[in-house]
Point group: D3
Chain length 248, copies 6
């Protein structure tokens, strides 16, 4: 159930039955020579939309631009400063909370968003905690889950790619986008097969260490068949976690 495709009376009716919502959040950033710039937004989006359709869960529009400062030396990457992303998350939460959404689940596709989104949650709660009195408890529960960290997904990643999975432009995320967007599969060679691992600071430092943008991944192993398996696994993981969240 896509929020964008509802009229407001449908949202009103939904809130009578459920006060949960999924907000896909990702990033727009390079994912190596064969990964899509939109990978981190597209992955949670396709999983959330499919789960939402199957189970009648409201899915908000994807926050497609995240915190990607370290990728900016590669063309096409777009970042929000952490403080900007925090403000976006804050305003989205406050808007949804006003309508009575009590459980807001951010399905995340980008490791680089985690700290900032969690800091935004704390900023939101701070505005309650710093006051004393009957109206100073937040009525809204916030949770961020990472699609790539669910149990079923991780098992498939481990089985299919083992230590070639990597940590950026991973075989799994590229596989999922290949399944979801087969027309956008890139036929390019990757050298070396597996990219180096390491830490990074800013964008120039990142590109010096990771010249084609991948970290630790043999991204050429990605394939749409594994993508299909990950798609089903990701939906199942998400539904498990979302239901547990609703019950909390």
């Amino acid at each position: 159930m896509l929020l964008q495709h509802c009229a407001w009376p449908e949202v009103e009716a939904y809130l009578e039955k459920s006060t949960g919502v999924i907000v896909p959040i990702g990033s727009t950033e390079q994912h190596g020579p064969n990964g899509l710039v939109g990978t981190d937004a597209l992955c949670p989006q396709v999983l959330a939309e499919a789960a939402g359709e199957r189970e009648g869960i409201m899915v908000a529009p994807t926050l497609s631009i995240g915190m990607a400062q370290h990728h900016l030396d590669f063309p096409g990457s777009i970042t929000l400063r952490p403080r900007t992303l925090m403000a976006v998350v804050y305003d989205v939460v406050q808007s949804l909370a006003r309508h009575g959404f009590s459980h807001i689940y951010f399905l995340n596709g980008h490791g680089g968003n985690i700290n900032t989104v969690q800091a935004a949650f704390a900023e939101y709660y701070s505005d309650y905690s710093l006051h004393k009195g009957p109206s100073c408890e937040a009525q809204t529960r916030l949770k961020m889950g990472n699609w790539f960290a669910g149990g079923r997904v991780k098992q498939i990643s481990a089985e299919r790619f083992g230590d070639k999975e990597g940590s950026h432009a991973t075989c799994s995320e590229i596989s999922l986008t290949q399944y979801a967007y087969p027309e956008s599969i890139k036929d390019v060679g990757l050298s070396p097969e597996q990219a180096p691992e390491g830490h990074f600071r800013d964008a120039v430092d990142f590109r010096r260490q990771f010249p084609d943008g991948r970290i630790g991944a043999a991204s050429g192993l990605a394939n749409p068949e594994t993508g299909k398996a990950l798609f089903e696994a990701g939906i199942a993981d998400l539904l498990d976690e979302y239901r547990a969240f609703l019950d909390s």
Copy 2:
């Protein structure tokens, strides 16, 4: 050419040929009983993506959440505060400018965004103007166009809907989404046929004046056939304006 579906070397290659980009920007807000909450984001998105595909223009991911404070008393509406939206536009511009995009065209679907986005442009230019010296001229041109204000589009709106078009939940924008998303057409009655006109302040004031969310529109007149005509007209208007912008 969707930025999200490119790998970075494709973006690099694109920049060799063109340094223009279209950024669809909209809003997530009620559009009356038969309009989609996502109307203002979906309209510029479908037009930009079609134009981009036909002409090989790079299209960034849609900024789906805009400045919609006045709609918040209707379930499903989400707003960014003006200062948050300004920060988002600023960061997106700065990111794209870093890659060498010299002409950034925001295709807008929401009247309520206009002031804030223009203020964001001025904020961006201010950071150049407040310094003196050789590097203090911005190399990036920014423009915002409204899909609903192009010549061809306005002619169709006038011909088909006349003074029943309205100014929110307009017949035209609902028609366009009906064409683009026929499975989401709402079969609901509207009473009165045409909503009242007026001005508004905050969300409570808005809903008091416009109880079902429409302003001045007889939104029930919307139809997918007109949507198809608007789709073609919107693409043509956009391409004209974008090309003129590139030449500036």
Copy 3:
């Protein structure tokens, strides 16, 4: 009735009779070789003060510095960043609202302020709209009018200057200041007689395109006699619009 010249009990007494106030807002920026740097602040100020005196309307002190980033390559121009101007408007509104002013009319003299001031209004309303409950409706109406856009004023501009009026350092605004400040009339030649039209980005770009600061105006046609006519027309336009606003 100048707020600055009242003692607080007089303001208290005024509020018993009326809860409307006019806030002149302008800019401090170059207006070509024969226009005053203060034109955009002085014009709304003289009109508001005269109207206020004639009709007993409270007039707040002029916000003389606006959003003028594009003029900064000409000596004497001063800007507030958009976000600063937004904060100023917000705080002024909140202060006046606290006293019970229910209708705050900003009489504006600078096109470049419009987007930012409107964004500030939306920021103010957002703080109400993002909460739900009995106290979440703003009790204050905000309106910005441009002195140069009133019906009587535009008619005079058209009759006297036609297509030589221009859009910056216009014949009309310079005429009005010449009437109001005859001792400051500049006796300088202008070449070309009429300045070019165009769009601009930052300050360096502006000056390159508009070397003497004028846009589209044959500012040498300005004369204090027309200024006197504009003065009376501007007062009448303002009073009409202000009264209609009070009745809203």
Copy 4:
């Protein structure tokens, strides 16, 4: 020499001879039953303008709204939050510095502005100090002087009013406005003759302690004759201090 009444070529010519400028800064706040709401802005304005005219010093438009949070329980008082006022001062300084003004003298009329304006100066310098390298020294000198603290002015205050001068709505500042704006002299009784002294926090606390708005002042002693003496003394004090500042 009023910046608002110059055309930009006159400012350019001025900068050939002098790079100093005076910026009057005040407040819009209650000053008791017989003091003007604009007292703190009007006093520095009339002194700066007179000094500027006599000596050909450039005088910027007055920043009429300052930090007056504690006065907000009295009708007509307007405040900028400290962070807003800091941003205003910052932007004004940066604008003037861009034109080559090397000595910016803020002539202040409101004790409540002092901390905030000084903090703004430190904010401006911080942006230089936090970087290292050849361009990291500010070329602009900033100084704030209080018109009421000059030697000649304080002598007159002491002679004429002694311990009845007070610290808000002082006999001296009201005298100066009575001289400058004789048509606005208020004929009201004050009881008690001399207001209490004390400290304050927020606006409600202020009004509880100082029910008519005065602090420590027997404001009824104010008279335009003393105002005239203060006017001349204030100009002389200002010119002394400004010249010394230019030589620093």
Copy 5:
């Protein structure tokens, strides 16, 4: 080597030999009935100061107040909002970087700080990454380590406390403060012996779930002897990690 106890020429001399520095960062928040409010700041402080003294490493003053919004319903807890803490970390980093410190190691004592401090690091790097050119690489490496997560420390915690360690007001952190501040050991009973585990949102929610402030910990098991072991282990862990960081 305490920065606070050096004179600046000693810092200058230090920088000739090393450009690394340790910044202890903690929190001021309740730690249950027998834990110190300062636990999270005191632990990294005593470890950093001891390590600094033994090895001649520069140790900056402790940032004693962190992000502790969830503890505010217990008296004595103090929080910085996430955005405030981010600004603090940013300014401290920029100050140290200006002096040529190339490796800044934050030794953290509070899990609740992690997201915010990492977001601050990203904010710092963003200001480099969003620009292009020769000076757009940060010369400063930033790292945050948690004293309680080092290998030797975790081994002791596991051996001594096993699953009674808990996650707030842990046996280990209280042991360390008991060793460091034996005069402040609290002789209080705890009921239940082991606190519940769980998740939390704001301060009211936190206290409802964790009535005495502990999470999962049998804090009464804490003892100064284990504290001594943790002290030595913590120093050794820190030195290992700091040296590895310097070599990076």
Copy 6:
């Protein structure tokens, strides 16, 4: 009574008896060749802690980093931007106020903090003053005192050092740190004996004028014996002022 060394039930018990608290606030900045970088934080800390211990007054952790932009050209100096320090003070005040602390006394050790901290107080009060109604009075009293400005302390400074005291790296503050931290006394020669006086702007300007960091001080006269006298005097001054504050 150190807040950091209390458990929360002790703070709760304290609040039954007293709702006052002392917050030491200082700076981390060069203090000449023989002064400690931590001087301005250490001085108020040792005084507050001793006073707190003797009289059972709650003492919060020291805010060790202040507004020190002008010292940044000397290694080891760390600054918060004024706006950052304002946010820190604001959040600390709001946290303490939530617990019911009604009198928050900041004992300050750095002249450069004064304006910014006072601006932060005004920011805090503004949030009350800008609203109208029963809950719009702040229940918390804020005061900042400077340890070096108490009557007993100033008398000792005058007697022992006269016009050699100076205004930065003063004989008195160095004496106090020599008494408190005898192991950190620096044995260095100072040339000239007494540093020049003057004003400063940013960090580069400061160091040009004051090459070894001292302003006006013959810091070599500092001695721990005077430090001991200042220690006792400072405690007595503090207790007097704190008690008077509590009674206000």
